[in-house]
Symmetry: C2
Subunit: 110 residues, 2 copies
C-alpha cells in the first residue's frame, strides 16, 4: 500500500466510544483516532516515542507531572517511557498519533 | 518541549510559497507544511521513511511509477529511497509529513 484513504481503510472499533485507523512503514506508524466526549485515556507508558496532534475537539492531557487542555493545532511529544494519559472534553476529539518504533499491539491484520 | 502549538512555534519560510513547522523526538519527526497553489515538489528521494497526510487542499502525488491526485484524509507511505514528488492543485495545501529517522536537514535551531 503506497496511497491510503482514512475513509476506506479498516477501522478498529476498540469500544463504542473509541475508533482507530492505522498506517505504517517498518519503523514509523501514523494513527488516526476518534474518541467520544468524556472518554478517559488512563495513565500509561511505553518504550515507543510518540507525537500527538489534535485535529478536532479538546482534551486534557497529562504528560509526566504536567497537565494541559489542548485543542486543534496543538500537540505533545512523549519520549520513551514517559507516563501519559488524558480526558476528552465535552465534544468528540479527533487526534493523530505518531509512533516509532511501530506499535505491534495496534496491528490487527496483515 | 513536551506540549506544542503550531501557531506559536517557529515557522521556516522556505520560499514565499512554502512554509514549514517541525517538531521531533530522537527518532521521529512531525512536519506541518503549507504550500501555495501550483507549487511543485520535484522528484527526490531520501533514506528516511515518510508518511504523508493531506489536511486541506489537493495535490498530484507521484510515488515511484504511480501518480494520484489526493485530498483531505488521504495520504501516502514512502519507504526508504522511493522516488517521490508532487504538484499542488488550484488551492493551497496543508499537509503533514512524518519521518523516521528525523530529517537533520530540517532542523534550523536547537
Amino acid at each position: 500500500m503506497s496511497f491510503f484513504k482514512w475513509d476506506e481503510g479498516p477501522t478498529d472499533e476498540l469500544t463504542p466510544q473509541v475508533k482507530r485507523k492505522v498506517v505504517h512503514l517498518e519503523n514509523v506508524m501514523l494513527v488516526y483516532t476518534e474518541r467520544e466526549a468524556g472518554v478517559e485515556m488512563p495513565i500509561h507508558q511505553h518504550p515507543h516515542e510518540q507525537i500527538g496532534l489534535v485535529l478536532q475537539g479538546k482534551a486534557e492531557v497529562i504528560l509526566g507531572d504536567e497537565k494541559r487542555v489542548i485543542g486543534p493545532g496543538e500537540g505533545y511529544l512523549i519520549p520513551p517511557n514517559m507516563k501519559h494519559g488524558g480526558l476528552v472534553g465535552e465534544e468528540p476529539i479527533v487526534l493523530l498519533a505518531v509512533f516509532s518504533p511501530i506499535r505491534d499491539d495496534f496491528l490487527t491484520e496483515e
